[in-house]
């Protein structure tokens, strides 16, 4: 069992991702939802390519031309005081 951490924010291990991908034959999105890899503070900026690589090895899902784990706004954490800004 490889306990190497892949997603630092949520401390998801290589084993967690491999096991989840193998058990549920997951898409990148499903792995993200099941394990929380890529859902932490950094928004997957650090582990995204690593998660793609694990999935490619586990399920044969190759990174296509679309970015596998969809990027959602906000791409940085935003404090509530920032929201509601005016248009300049």
């Amino acid at each position: 069992m490889d306990q190497t951490i892949i997603c630092r924010c949520e401390e998801v291990s290589l084993h967690d991702i491999q096991h989840t991908a193998a058990t549920y034959n997951c898409s990148a999105r499903e792995v993200k939802l099941r394990t929380r890899a890529g859902m932490g503070y950094c928004g997957g900026r650090t582990c995204r390519p690593a998660v793609d690589a694990v999935l490619e090895a586990a399920t044969g899902e190759k990174a296509g031309h679309d970015i596998p784990m969809k990027v959602q706004p906000p791409v940085r954490p935003v404090s509530l005081s920032v929201l509601g800004g005016e248009v300049k």
């Binding site: 401390e11 491999q18 970015i67 935003v78």
Partner: protein, 396 residues
């Protein structure tokens, strides 16, 4: 309301701003960091002709020109969302929302992680982190360290640490796992190493680089790679040794190093503990394209360029009206290429047709004369992106 907002004040963003200001456009450059310059700030290396490439000086040259042209540059501003609106784009930032007709995304690259056991310990950092600490903040990242990952970028930065008087034990490969695969394969790493051989006085690598295109010569070079590593600037570079574990409880105390076969497999019983207080992880760069993704720009996966690239043409336009890209977001290359691309993107945005053709030639010329090539097939990768732009245009 701006004519153009530029996200990223690195070599691409600043050069683009200058080109736009030449045509008197209403420009604003934003950057997350407190100083402009981006990754250019940390760069410091000696060119093959002996001259120093000093990123701080190069940044200052760009800033002086930008200032003469009254360019608005806002630092400490981070964009978290972009919306397509009727007249252009609305840029959501921590200091408010800015409206603009054109948008240039020049957000550069992020470092690819190389996860190995123990890499979350304090004292483990990306190689770029060490570069910024050393050359920008002038802070020593530790007393003695080791570099995990052998590639163009890590060799260059290891040299910078050395120049600053920071002791490095060596450079070695990461232990092979599903993620580190490429970085842990001695043959793959050797291919990269021979491409930078001309920069360092190493007879072994220079010899190897002469045969770089021949696979069997490369395999022999890997097989008979010196036990003590090949020295570049006096520092051993190992491609037959891997770091299997970073050790420590509160922070880095040591690493465990193993001998590996020519295929990257660990040789049992070869473990050695090396005392270090910092570790630099080097997995290369990938284009940081999240903002382009959020607005729905189409992408192509191009390995030669480092990953998912926003589709764009030779003039740096994307298929989305008014959206431009420049610098490492369009593919991993040197700061000089980024600078030339920025200028080109600026002229494209300003519709300065008199200068676009020359700027396009400049990008090519800078690329051809680059002393460091991040990937041997960059030109082919660029052609693929441009073809997909045409396909996209034709489909519309």
């Amino acid at each position: 309301m701006y004519d153009v907002v530029i996200i990223g004040a690195g070599p691409a963003g600043l050069s683009a701003a200058i080109a736009c200001r030449e045509s008197n456009l209403h420009v604003m450059v934003i950057d997350e960091f407190s100083k402009p310059g981006g990754r250019l700030l940390g760069q410091l290396h000696q060119e093959p002709n002996g001259e120093w490439w000093n990123g701080i000086k190069e940044t200052q040259i760009l800033l002086d020109t930008a200032e003469k042209l009254n360019t608005e540059i806002k630092c400490g501003v981070s964009a978290h969302h972009i919306e397509k609106v009727e007249h252009g784009y609305a840029i959501h930032t921590n200091i408010g929302v800015f409206d603009t007709t054109n948008l240039l995304i020049a957000t550069g690259a992020a470092e690819t992680a190389v996860p190995i056991p123990g890499w979350t310990l304090p004292g483990v950092m990306s190689i770029g982190a060490a570069q910024v600490m050393t050359n920008v903040h002038r802070v020593r990242v530790g007393k003695k360290g080791i570099v995990v990952g052998v590639n163009v970028l890590s060799a260059a930065i290891a040299r910078e640490l050395q120049i600053a008087g920071i002791e490095l034990h060596s450079m070695a490969l990461p232990i092979a796992n599903t993620v580190t695969k490429k970085h842990a394969d001695p043959k793959h790493v050797m291919d990269g190493l021979v491409r930078i051989a001309h920069l360092a006085p190493s007879a072994f690598l220079r010899f190897g680089s002469k045969f770089a295109k021949s696979e069997w010569v490369r395999d022999i070079a890997v097989k008979f790679y010196p036990k003590g590593g090949v020295k570049m600037w006096g520092m051993p570079i190992h491609i037959r040794k891997a770091i299997v574990q970073i050790n420590g409880t509160e922070k880095v105390e040591s690493v465990t190093m193993c001998d590996i076969t020519a295929d990257g497999e660990v040789i049992a019983g070869s473990e050695k503990t090396i005392d270090v207080d910092f570790v630099c992880i080097a997995g290369g760069l990938y284009p940081l394209a999240e903002l382009a993704s959020v607005i729905g720009c189409p992408f192509q996966y191009v390995e030669e360029l480092g990953g998912h690239i926003p589709v764009h043409n030779e003039q740096m336009e994307t298929p989305l009206k008014g959206l431009y890209v420049a610098g490492n977001i369009t593919g991993i290359e040197s700061a000089k290429v980024a600078r030339a691309q920025g200028t080109l993107a600026g002229y494209s945005i300003a519709k300065n047709h008199a200068k676009i053709q020359q700027a396009m030639r400049d990008v090519k010329a800078v690329r051809e004369s680059a002393s460091i090539q991040f990937h041997p097939a960059i030109v082919e990768g660029r052609e693929r992106i441009q073809r997909s732009f045409l396909e996209y245009e034709n489909a519309q």
